[in-house]
Symmetry: C2
C-alpha cells in the first residue's frame, strides 16, 4: 500500500508554495432538477489528511449553508474542481465527491455521512471542532458575510437595507449580547465543503513539449498515465 | 426593444479594459452519459455581436474539436462560464447555450444549427470565415498544438514521441508541402466555441456593502434584479 502523498499533491504543494496567493478555485456541480451545470469561484483553504496516511488528501473550502450549491452537492455529490495556477502555468482538474459539513445541530447535518474511515480520517475525527477552528480563522469581513439575508435572494429594501449589514465581525466579548447573536448566526450559517479527490487531470504548460498526466485513485493507491496534452 | 449592450456587458468591458490579461475563463458542461460535471479553463477571445443589435453579445472561445467537451456540449448545450476578474474583484457567472463550430467539412459540423437569426447574426453570417480569421490570429505555438495526437488520449511512445511534435506553426510558404500538411491538419482540428449568454450572476466584492445583480434575457431585452451577495 502506498502511504505517501500522491505525486499530483506534491506538484500542487510546490506550485502553491511558489504562488501562495493563487488560491481561487472553481467548483462545478449539477442541479439535479435540471440538466444544467453550475460553477463558481471558491477559496481553497487547506488540505486535510490523516497523519498516518497522506495518500488520501482532502481539499477544504467553505460556504454559506444557505447557498444553492449545498443542496446541489447533497443531491449529487459528483463535482469537479478546476485550479489554474497562472504563475506556474499549471492546471489541475480534480474530480471527486463533495461532502457538505454544516453545524452539528443544522437540519442538513443529517445528510453528512461519516462512516468509519469514509474520509480516511477515522470515525473519531471531530468535524464540528474542525468547522469551528476554520470559522475562527476567517477574516472579520468574511464572518460578517454570513450574517446577511439568504445569499442569492431578492435584495429586500434595496441598497439602503444592505448598508445596515455588519461589515466586520469579531469574537464577542462577555456581555456583548448583540455581538453574540451575530456570531452565533454567522457560525450557524457557516459550513465546510470537503472534496475527496478521485481523478486528477494535471496539465503543465511551461515545459516544451507540454505535459499532461492523469492520476486516479484505487483504495490507497494512485495510478498515473501520461496523456497527450 | 432595448438595442443597447446590456449593463453586465458594459461592466465586463470596463473590467477587461482595466485588466486586459485576465482572459482565463472556466467553462462547465455535463457529460450526458453520467451525472458528472466537467470544468476546464479556456481563453476568452472576444465578443461577437451584430452591429445593428449589440443587445445580444456572444462570447467566443476556441478548442480542439477532438476534445471530450465538444461532444458534451453538442449533446447538452447548457453550460455555465465563470469569470473571476481578480484585479476588479468581480465575478461573472454566465449561463447560456454553447454552439460548437468545427470546419465546414467536418463530420460534427452537421450539429451546428444556424437557423435565421438564431445567434442574432442573421443567416448570412459566415462562421467558416470567422473560424479561419480567428485561427490565423492564434499564436504559432497554439497553432502547433492542434497538430498533436488526440488530446487526452494515452501518450503513445512516451516523452520521446512528444519531442517530435511541432512547437510552432507558421502559415506555409508556396511549395512547403510538409508545412501545408500541418497547417491543414491544425485548421481542420480547430473549432470555435460560441456561448449565447442567457442568465448572468454578477458579483462585485470591492464596494462595501458588496453588490450582486442577476441579469436575464427575454428576447432582446435584459431584465435585472438586485440580489443579496
Amino acid at each position: 500500500m502506498q502511504m505517501t502523498a500522491p505525486r499530483w499533491k506534491a506538484a500542487l504543494d510546490k506550485a502553491l508554495a511558489a504562488h501562495s496567493k493563487e488560491t481561487v478555485i472553481q467548483l462545478a456541480s449539477i442541479d439535479p432538477s435540471t440538466p444544467v451545470p453550475h460553477v463558481r469561484s471558491l477559496i481553497f483553504r487547506s488540505f486535510v489528511s490523516p497523519i498516518d496516511n497522506p495518500s488520501h488528501p482532502l481539499l477544504l473550502a467553505t460556504t454559506d449553508i444557505r447557498t444553492p450549491k449545498t443542496a446541489q452537492m447533497i443531491a449529487n455529490p459528483n463535482v469537479q474542481v478546476v485550479w489554474w495556477i497562472s504563475g506556474a502555468q499549471e492546471q489541475y482538474r480534480i474530480a471527486g465527491r463533495a461532502h457538505i459539513i454544516p453545524a452539528r445541530g443544522h437540519t442538513l447535518h443529517k445528510h453528512f455521512m461519516h462512516p468509519v474511515g469514509a474520509l480516511g480520517l477515522g470515525a473519531n475525527f471531530d468535524w464540528e471542532e474542525k468547522r469551528i477552528e476554520v470559522f475562527k480563522s476567517m477574516s472579520p469581513m468574511m464572518k460578517a458575510s454570513w450574517c446577511r439575508p439568504v445569499p442569492g435572494s431578492h435584495l429586500e429594501g434595496g441598497p439602503d437595507e444592505a448598508k445596515k449589514w455588519p461589515v466586520k465581525l469579531e469574537e464577542p466579548k462577555a456581555g456583548d449580547e448583540e455581538g453574540k447573536r451575530l456570531w452565533d448566526m454567522s457560525l450557524s450559517n457557516f459550513a465546510l465543503v470537503v472534496i475527496e479527490p478521485q481523478d486528477i487531470d494535471y496539465v503543465e504548460l511551461e515545459p516544451i513539449p507540454n505535459r499532461r498526466t492523469r492520476f486516479w485513485r484505487a483504495g490507497n493507491v494512485w495510478n498515473e498515465e501520461a496523456l497527450v496534452p
